[in-house]
Symmetry: C2
DNA sequence: AAGTGAGGGTTGGATTTTCCAACTCTTCGA
DNA sequence: TCGAAGAGTTGGAAAATCCAACCCTCACTT
């Protein structure tokens, strides 16, 4: 999935090169839920075992997951998110919220996440400087590197 | 990419079924930046033209993009995000922030996004109820449907 | 002692996608 | 008349995915 000729330097593309392959983010979903063993992942994700093995290697190499033996004799392993992996959780939450809104007709959500404050988590992306919810119209893109051509009076 | 046997009902998986294929989110990046024409997309994304055509059809079908003629005679088209498409922008922003932090060593970010408040946008996912930044430890998953087995004392 | 089952993969081959370059078609401009 | 731009489509080679079957180690049962 390496962007062999991607003409744009871009952190979105770079990130997707690590976690954008099929099943990778679902692996992350599972390990964030605490499901850490190979067979659990196979069952819960529905991925072919060989593909899953490949993905796990990739994610471990990328520093997103760690692989640890939870038992020698018989050797058994578990996969857990690293700090970097946990920092991708907001991506999952945002994807989930979008899916709840747009692919399901809300209200038959397969999962609800509860926040420590006692309420159901409705994740919102905000500007850390002012705290406001991010709206498309409030954004302006500033390319820092060559390769970016932003057409309109537009925005990221 | 349809999850043919995904044993888990999951909005993350559902959303990825729509936008998780290679290049789809980069298409969204481009249209959010205002680059709306086929050839621009080919150049900026670096995708094969045939694949891009396929992705565009998918995204239009999914209601994430619209296709409009901006010129008859010669027929020319533009792709723009729908409201639903724009609501995926937070996913892009979060992916970008993660990449800035973890794949680049910060400080050579290819793009900076400015927020309407005048500051550089550092996107943070917060709980809409209490306003706090979402941390993994504060989350508890509540499966609503069968098929979910959350192992540990864990979390989404 | 033999058989069974769990866990964590690997292997071979069929199927599906991607990739790439070339080609098409239409219309505008020189 | 001769490009050139825009928006794709097409055919065939290369790569990735899918699937079922297999392997290995150890533990537990009978």
């Amino acid at each position: 999935m390496a962007a062999t000729k991607d003409p744009r330097p871009c952190s979105i593309a770079d990130t997707l090169a690590l976690v954008g392959e099929k099943y990778s983010l679902l692996v992350l979903r599972e390990v964030c839920l605490g499901n850490s063993r190979f067979d659990q992942l196979v069952r819960n994700i529905g991925a072919p075992r060989d593909i899953l093995a490949t993905r796990l290697r990739r994610l471990v190499d990328a520093g997103i997951l760690t692989k640890r033996a939870y038992s020698e004799r018989p050797q058994r392993f578990e996969y857990r998110p690293t700090q970097a992996g946990l920092e991708l959780e907001p991506v999952l939450l945002t994807l989930m919220a979008w899916g709840d809104r747009h692919v399901r007709n809300d209200d038959d959500r397969p999962m609800v996440v509860e926040h420590g404050c006692g309420n159901e988590l409705l994740p919102v992306v905000t500007c850390s400087a002012c705290g406001d919810t991010v709206r498309h119209e409030d954004l302006t893109a500033h390319p820092q590197a060559p390769g970016w051509t932003v057409t309109g009076p537009t925005v990221a």
